[in-house]
Amino acid sequence: MASSAAVPFWRAAGMTYITYSNICANLVRKCLKEPFKAESINREKVHFSLSKWADGKPQKPVLRSDAPEV
């Protein structure tokens, strides 16, 4: 069976839909007027710490934080 309709350019370049959608949303947010821009960027801030486990022990955690350093 031949592959169906041509894939979108971003999928051909190895990007997933979620990545594409998030890039689009970020670009739109960057083009907003104040104060909407500040609100939306503040809304999308994330803070998490992720650690993989091996041999029953957590390895070095990966910390991703957009919160300002206090």
Partner: protein
């Protein structure tokens, strides 16, 4: 050799069909009649009369909403964003969504469709009011009972977009597209160009 192919194929299909006939014509779980096992309920009541018999997942499922025989006069729109519900069960006359296949007008009684949205304007028409939003991307689910579920990652009223930043972004990404080397860079620059030109068109059109 190939003359036998159709006979062999149909033989294997019918063998499979007869052995597991339940799987070939399986109804949706939301359309099956509720099958509460009365013998189980009775024996439960004997053992634990003060407790309600346990429920099964199918008892929590709502049955598929029926399609009205005549086309309703209004379209019910649910427009949601990840952080807010913009429109909830709002009855409108028409919605125009920016599908990847082009601007799609949705009227009550629209054929059931799942449409992927591209960056563009979504307009909600209610009588003489038209409300426009710029949608970054998302999906629209149009159901048979004239309910439209539109989900977008980011949707802003057109007044909130800054035209000068759009022009700046468009110039920046056009330049990035020209100078991109890897596939990924090209794709990102292309996305930038598309989104900014869509915003540009939305502001001027």
């Amino acid at each position: 050799m190939l003359r036998q192919a159709s006979r062999l194929l149909s033989r294997s299909v019918t063998a499979a069909a007869s052995s597991k006939s339940a799987t070939t014509t399986r109804a949706f779980s939301t359309e099956l009649p509720s099958t509460i096992d009365s013998t189980f309920v009775e024996s439960w009541k004997k053992v634990a009369p003060n407790m309600d018999p346990p429920q099964t997942p199918s008892s929590f499922m709502k049955s598929r909403p029926s399609t009205a025989s005549s086309i309703p006069t209004k379209l019910t729109v649910n427009f949601v964003l990840p952080y807010a519900s913009e429109l909830s069960e709002k009855e409108v006359d028409m919605v125009i969504i920016p599908a990847t296949t082009g601007q799609m007008g949705v009227l009550p009684g629209h054929v059931p469709t799942i449409a992927e949205l591209k960056p563009g304007i979504m307009s909600v028409h209610e009588g003489t009011d038209i409300k426009k939003y710029f949608v970054s991307s998302g999906f629209a689910f149009l159901h048979a009972n004239s309910v439209a579920d539109i989900i977008a990652v980011e949707a802003v009223p057109l007044e909130n977009i800054d035209a000068s930043q759009v022009q700046k972004g468009l110039a920046e990404f056009t330049q990035k597209l020209a100078s991109a080397t890897t596939d990924l860079e090209k794709a990102e620059a292309q996305i930038g160009v598309e989104v900014h030109s869509a915003m540009n068109a939305a502001l001027s059109g």
